[in-house]
Every structure is written in C-alpha cells, then in structure tokens.
Amino acid sequence: MERLKQSDLARQIGISASYLNLIEHNRRRIGGKLLLDIAAALGVEPTVLSEGAEAALIASLQEAAQRASMSETESGRAEEFAGRFPGWADALAAAHRKIADLERTVETLSDRLAHDPELAASVHEVLSTAASIRSTASILAEDKTITEEWRNRFHANIDADSRRLADSSKALVGFLDAETGEAAPSGSPQEEVAQFLAAHDYGFSSLEDGAEDVDRIVSNASELVSAQSRHLARTVLDRVVRDSAQVSMTDLKAALTEDGLDVIALSNRFGVSVPHMMRRLAAVPGLDAGLVVSDRAGSLLFRKDIEGFTIPRHGAACPLWPLFQVLAQPGQAIHARVQMPSRDGAVFDCYAAAQPVGPLIVNTPRLVEAAMLILPVPDGPEPNGLTIQEVGPACRICPRGRCAGRREPSILSDGFGGF
C-alpha cells in the first residue's frame, strides 16, 4: 500500500488532521462508519485497525504504569492485564487519558491565573470586597456595644460593598465565560480577537474574494466588544488583504498540490517573504498549521494554536523556540524539529523567519517581526541533519528541570512532574 500522508487521509475521510492525530494516539475512540471509512481509505480490514486500538490500549497502560513508577516486570504485564480484565484495562487507560487532559487544563488555567493581569485584578476585586463585607458584617454581628454612628457607617459600607461584589462577580463570570466561547464583555482585547479569529477558523475567504470588506466583518463580529479589539482585528484583517493579494488561496492550494509543503520553495515561487508565506499557509483550511508571530520584545502578536504545542496565552513563551532565534537575524530562515514536554512527547516541524517591518527611518533601528509556522511532523524518514530540539511552552508550566533558558520555577516540576 502506498504510504498516505496524515493530512491527505484526513481530507479523504472528511475529518481534520488534528482529529485524526487524536485517533492515531488513541485519544478518540472510533467505530461504525468512521472506522469503516478509515479502513477503506487505508485499504485494510477494519479488524486491523481494531487490533491497532488494542496495541494502543497496551501502550496506554504501559505509560500509566511508567508514570506510577512501576517496575519493568510489572509494566510488562500490561498485555496480560488487558487480556484478563478488559473492562478494567479500558477504565484504567481512560482514566490515564483523562488525567492527561486535566493536566493540560491545569497548565492552561495556571498560566492564565499567573499571567493574566485582567483576571488577577478581577479576582482581587472580588476577594477584597468579600473580605470587607465579611469583616464588617462580623463586627456588626458580634459587637453589641458599637455606637450608632459606627453601626450606620458599617451598614452603608456593606451596602456599597455588596453592590460592588455583585458587579465584580458578574464581570469575573463574563471573563471566565470567554473560555467556553461565549461572549466576554470584560475579556481583554487580545482575548476578544482570539475568539474572533477562532470563530472564523482563521480564514476569511469572503474578504479575500472581495465579497466583504474589513469594516463590515469587524462591525458584524459579536466577539469584538471593545474599541481596542476592533482596532487589533482590523490590523490583522488588513494584513490578510495585503497577503492574499500576492498569494491567493486558490493559487496556494494549487502550489501545495504540485510542490508539497515546502515553505521556502513556496516563498520563492510566489516571490514573497518567508513570514508572508507562513501567514498564508496558516490560513489554508485542513492544513492544521499553527502560527506564532512575535515582535523583538518577545510579545506574541498573533497565535494560532495547534494540538499538542502549548502557546502560552499570557506572559513570555519559551526562549528556546526557533521563533526567538531568528529575531537577531532578519532574512534568515530556520527549519527545526522540536519536542514539547508533553506526555506523548509530541514533535513538530517549525519554520521560523524574521523580517523588518514598518517604515525605514534614517539613524533609527528597523522594527523586526518574527513568525514561526508549526506543523505536525509528516510521516516518513527523518530529514538529514535535523535533530530534535527540546523546547517548552513557558517556564511556569514547563517541567524540564535543567534548562538553560529557565526564568522562573515551574509549578509542574514539583507538583505535577512526577504524576
């Protein structure tokens, strides 16, 4: 059977490459029509895939055993365990996967709580108001000798604080609702733009073909509540217009079919910069590419997530990312294979390049912007000379203990690393 690319297979059976990736790693169970479709696309019997799932179950059990520091002898009995107690084995593997999912959630929430100034201020407001109410109410309840003047003052304080608590609680709930994709009137402008882009799946075909203009899209976007977020979204969309004028989606898809996913070759073919090509590739439906754009200060200006590669929503990212290596050398492109410290050791192909942006002014350093395209590692042999580099998400949520790039202690190294 001819080897089929993951993305081609996903397209053929009508699911995303990231979902197929989850299936391959046994994070999503399949059956019925989807199982039959995949088997047909691969030209194998459905039972072959079922047996594959069995192997994945054993691998999952062995991983769970390894994390529980079981001996090799004990860990080696996973197959026997699955054979004798299939129900328990399924339950254990499912619990192991659930723990992995929860760990990811903890990483995300902890990162957010630690670095999101808006959330920190919101929580501080709620807790401070609660502290004031609790303290004042206790005085009124316990001190029977309190003067009328103090009593009246404290009653007024409680009244004012309870109103404040109601408002700040609503604001906090609104903020947290952003995580579930609901409207977040009190979210940060960056969060609003992230929701807006995700709602459009990072693609704006109607803008590219001229059916809609930037103002219309922005004014119709329910996610863009604040003036700042609308300004940021316009900046993103203006760039989409400029980028697509030189690299249309139709031409890019045709080029991908002919040349494959070679970022440098595609840049040369269209005569555009490498970061320009990365932005266009990140918008190709079904390619499931992640993208990060940073300025010279290391602030992440744009992010498009990819399953398994954690991009911190707040605070500084891992300084070992190729993204930051190219900032000092605009014009140079880097192709690196990197590994995240996740449970399954997810590996990605990253292309990074930087380019000057903004106007050229005499005796003034140019501003520089770097972009990094993040792609799932394709099937096939390792490219020559490409070693895997260990990177992380952000120091706070990275369990790599001995790392030259560490800026602050990790909450994972003690609390979760040995889980």
């Binding site: 004031s132 303290s135 004042t136 103090w150 909450i411």
Partner: protein, 124 residues
Amino acid sequence: MGKHVLLVEDETNIIEAIQFLLSREGWQVDTHSDGATAVEKVRNMRPDLVVLDYMLPGKNGIDILTELRADPDFERLPVLMLTARGQSRDRDLAERAGVSRFMTKPFSNTEVVTAVRDLVQLAQ
C-alpha cells in the same frame, strides 16, 4: 498607651473595618493607601507592626517589604501581609522577602486580631 500599627491598604472599607477592630483592642492605628510612599511612611512613623496589602497602587507589597528588610532599622519589624492572591508562588515570594505572617482574603476578624497580637508579642 497601646502599640502602634500602620495599616497600608487601599480598600477604604477594609481600612475602616480593620481600624475599628484594632482600635477596639487598644491599638493606635494609622493608615496609608499609597504603595509608592509606604516605605517613607514607615520610616517616618516607626510603627510597632505593619499590616501590608499585597496589591497596592504605586508599588506592590513585596517590593515594599523587600525595601524595608534591606534597612537595618526594619529588619525585624513585624509585617502581616494581606492578599487576595493565595497562590503558593505568592506566599513563597512573600516569605523570601521576609514576611512575618501571610494571610489571604477573605480573612476573619479573629484571625487578624490574633495575628497582630502574636506578632507584636514575638517581637518583644
């Protein structure tokens, strides 16, 4: 005359409640709401104990505490830090900066009064 406490806090109603509680216990309580000038205030007033909020306008409680501890006059000054940030990292930062006691909001009145009393006794 009771001991002298400086309360550095920017929430008006918390200030009133704590001021009332400690005054009732016989303490002399002064208040200050600006983080940027808090160290200067401590140097001028020389209180027996400081109740210090973590998040303040101008300068945060950790920076204020660090600055105080760097001054030999205030190396052993009892400092009770109040915070809405209960994360272990914040507690760790406060302890490294030399906090005497760390208390998360919302606290009970008894906790605050007891902590203030204990800290001053320990310092004597």
